[in-house]
Structures are given as structure tokens and as C-alpha cells.
């Protein structure tokens, strides 16, 4: 319907999550009609980020540095390592505040049917870090899905072999929620991981 360059841009924008043909078209027309300066800036930023951003050598999160800001920060406690599935989980925990240790980002979770085994989630890399003896405690913050549980169990077995203490973040009834509306699995889990007061 549009000229080739415009059509190209519309279909390129559709790689974004949640962007269908209609909204892609709206974005493109907006950029070309009203905000060419913004568009140019977007193009330059994208280019630079794709060129520059890789993975932190220590925790595997996304960064353009060899070692990310959190790993490098001398005020963070390197004896505690929180294992998460994605960089977005790091951001969520940082925003919640209170955690002073470091992270390890799996960039996925064990899911054999998807071809994701221990190697694909960087277990060698994690085990090597635990072998240095710097880490005293591993906190497993993988998702409460079955794949996340399996991943947590797998890592906890490896960590215990190396004499590192392991804990799993609590999952259960959401704050502000009502028991009646909590599903059976969550409720059963909340019971099995209850703690003494």
C-alpha cells in the first residue's frame, strides 16, 4: 500500500512484542510525519546498542561492559549469589530493593523439549564460579513454573556438591490476595514451604 521503504519499516517494527500491522503503521507514519529527529535518534541508538551490548563475563546479564556495574561494584556482597532466569528478573529484584549480593543470569531455564539442558543455561560457567570459593550462599530465584523448579533443583544439587549453602525464594499466596482465589498448586506449595513463627 505504501512505497517500498515505508513498507519495509512497517514490517521491521513488527519484530517488537505486541506490535501488530496496525500499530506498526501508526508508529511509522508518526515518525515520518511528525518526528524525524526522534526517528534518527532511534536508528542511531539501535545501531549502537546492537553493536555494543553483549554479556557480562561474570553474571551473563546484558551489558556493553566486559563486567557489568553490579558485578564490578565493590560495595556488593560477592559471597551471596542470586540465580535468575533473565536480565528482566535482575531489574525486578533491584527495583524491589534490599538485595545486596550479586547475580547469575541463566538466560533461560531447563526445558529438555526445547533443547535447553544444563550446558545451554551456562552451568559450567556457574560451577566454575562456585569452585573459586568466593560464594557462600546461592539464592535460587527461578520462576515457580515446573521448568523453574527443575532448574532450581538441578543447581541446588551442583551447589551442595561444592559445599555451597542453597536457598530458594519463597513462593505462595500473593500479598494482598485472598486464599479463596489462589489455585490449588500455589496453596499446596505455600503449605509445604510454611515457616515457624
Amino acid at each position: 500500500m505504501f512505497s517500498p521503504l515505508i513498507d519495509d519499516l512497517i514490517s521491521a517494527l513488527r519484530c517488537l512484542p505486541g506490535v501488530g500491522p496496525k500499530s506498526a503503521q501508526r508508529m511509522v507514519l508518526h515518525l515520518l510525519e511528525h518526528n524525524r529527529e526522534g526517528a534518527a535518534r532511534l536508528a542511531r541508538s539501535l545501531d549502537k546498542a546492537i553493536e555494543g551490548v553483549g554479556r557480562c563475563q561474570r553474571c551473563r546479564t546484558l551489558t556493553e561492559q566486559t563486567v557489568c556495574g553490579i558485578c564490578e561494584n565493590p560495595r556488593r556482597d560477592g559471597s551471596v549469589l542470586c540465580v535468575v532466569e533473565t536480565p528482566a528478573d535482575v531489574v525486578a529484584i533491584e527495583q524491589a530493593g534490599g538485595y545486596q549480593g550479586k547475580y547469575f543470569v541463566l538466560l533461560g531455564r531447563l526445558s529438555p523439549i526445547d533443547g535447553i539442558g544444563p550446558e545451554e543455561i551456562g552451568m559450567d560457567h556457574l560451577v566454575n564460579q562456585l569452585k573459586t570459593g568466593e560464594v557462600n550462599e546461592v539464592i535460587l530465584a527461578t520462576n515457580p513454573t515446573m521448568e523453574g523448579e527443575t532448574t532450581a533443583f538441578y543447581i541446588s544439587e551442583r551447589a551442595k556438591e561444592l559445599g555451597v549453602a542453597v536457598s530458594r525464594i519463597a513462593h505462595g499466596v500473593p500479598l494482598g490476595g485472598e486464599l479463596e482465589f489462589v489455585d490449588g498448586g500455589t496453596l499446596a506449595h505455600a503449605f509445604s514451604s510454611r515457616k515457624a513463627l
Binding site: 533443547g115 533443583f153 489455585d183
Partner: protein, 236 residues
């Protein structure tokens, strides 16, 4: 086609679009069947926790194409929890089914075996899951038409004798051989007594479990081809 309150287990899920999930289900009346669960990855979806492997659910599906739309899901009975090795085993069984079952090929027996195996795995409590896995594999192969008799010789149909040595041919079954009486010299052969124990699912002798595992691998190999099961990596 409308499918209402069909018993099911989720074999696998994959994110789909922004907030939806592609769900691979095992059911008695429709076999393996794929469905889209719309909007369940949004924050507080009540359905998302039920759309996990190893949970008995009832599903309602609609749609004309092969890929259905999930219209309802509810828990079918109290929730069982797999933990530790049982969890690895559950993923192993699921991977096996996804690899070996075609879509929408109904087989209520496979579903019953699956349900029985999941219940037994959840009650495992630290024991070894291997006897359960071997029995599931053998019954699955039976249902798929690849069953092998552990009590009768190939060709002749004579009874397997406890003292005799057998060679295994995945297409035919057990063929008696008279090469060597020493199993250490002939690691590829099977002793009749072990096969009969497998047939009885009697795994009290430790070597029977090892034999059973070797046997399963050889039976599955022609079906799985050169791509091994990824979940085996978990057990290493």
C-alpha cells in the same frame, strides 16, 4: 469441534504472541492436541498456574483447525507435586511422548499409563524413579505397536529360559545364542533370568535395573534416531 471437560495433562508450553501460551496437551480421547491459551501470561491470570506439566486438569477446547483455542481449564483432583528426581523423570516422560506421539491420535491406554506414572512419581519420596520409567517406556512401546515379548523367544515363540543367553534384535525380539556363558565377556547379551524379572517388573535385584535401562535404550533407539533425548542430560 467443541471438546468439553476432557481430562488432560500439559506436556509442554511455549510463549505465544504477547500474553498467550501454546499448550501441548495429552488427552485420552484426542491424544496429543495443541491449543492456544489466550491472555494467560498477563499478570494475574487464574489459568496460568494450571497450565504447567504434571498437573491433572480438565480442559475445554474449541476451533476447527488442528490448533484449538483453550476455552476453560480447571484442576482435576488435588494437586500432586513432583520434586527432585521425580521432576526430571516427569520431563523425561513428557519429552518421550512429544517425540513419539503424533497429533490427535487417540489412545486412552497411554493416557491412563501416564496418569498412573505421574501419581506414582509424586509418591516416590526420594526413591529411584527408574522402575516406573522402564515400565512406562515398555507399555508405551506396546501401545504404539513396538512391543517386545520378554517371556517368549523371537521366531520360535518358545519360552525364555532363565539360564539361556539372548541377543536382542529391536525388530524381532530375543534370539537365543550359545556363544559364551560369561556375561562379562558378552556385555551385549541378556540372561534369560533378567528378562523374566523385567517381564514381572521385579527390580529387586540391582542388575535387573541396569539390564532394563540397556534394553529400553536399544528398544527406543530406532524410534528416536540420532537425536538423543535432551532430558537424559539432567540425570548425569
Amino acid at each position: 469441534m467443541r471438546i468439553e471437560f476432557q481430562p488432560a495433562y500439559v506436556l509442554h508450553t511455549r510463549p505465544y504472541r504477547d500474553t498467550s501460551l501454546l499448550v501441548d496437551l495429552l488427552t485420552p480421547d484426542y491424544g496429543r492436541i495443541g491449543a492456544v491459551a489466550k491472555g494467560v501470561r498477563r499478570g494475574k491470570s487464574q489459568r496460568r498456574p494450571l497450565l504447567n506439566p504434571f498437573i491433572a486438569v480438565l480442559v475445554s477446547l474449541a476451533g476447527k483447525s488442528n490448533l484449538k483455542t483453550l476455552t476453560a481449564v480447571e484442576a482435576d483432583g488435588p494437586s500432586l507435586r513432583l520434586a527432585g528426581l521425580a521432576l526430571y523423570s516427569g520431563f523425561y516422560v513428557n519429552e518421550l511422548l512429544v517425540r513419539l506421539l503424533g497429533e490427535q491420535d487417540p489412545n486412552p491406554d497411554i493416557f491412563d499409563d501416564y496418569r498412573w506414572t505421574m501419581q506414582a512419581l509424586s509418591a516416590l519420596d526420594g526413591g529411584t524413579p527408574e522402575p516406573l520409567l522402564r515400565q512406562f517406556e515398555w507399555r508405551l512401546l506396546d501401545h504404539l505397536g513396538y512391543g517386545i515379548s520378554f517371556t517368549q523367544e523371537a521366531d520360535t515363540g518358545d519360552a525364555i529360559s532363565p539360564e539361556c543367553l539372548y541377543r536382542f534384535d529391536p525388530e524381532a525380539g530375543f534370539i537365543p545364542t550359545y556363544s559364551s556363558r560369561n556375561p562379562i565377556e558378552t556385555p551385549k547379551l541378556f540372561i534369560g533370568a533378567d528378562l523374566l524379572a523385567c517381564a514381572e517388573a521385579d527390580f529387586t535385584q540391582p542388575q535387573v535395573l541396569a539390564v532394563a535401562k540397556r534394553l529400553s535404550r536399544q528398544m527406543l533407539h530406532p524410534l528416536l534416531g540420532s537425536k538423543p533425548l535432551k532430558s537424559r542430560d539432567l540425570f548425569k
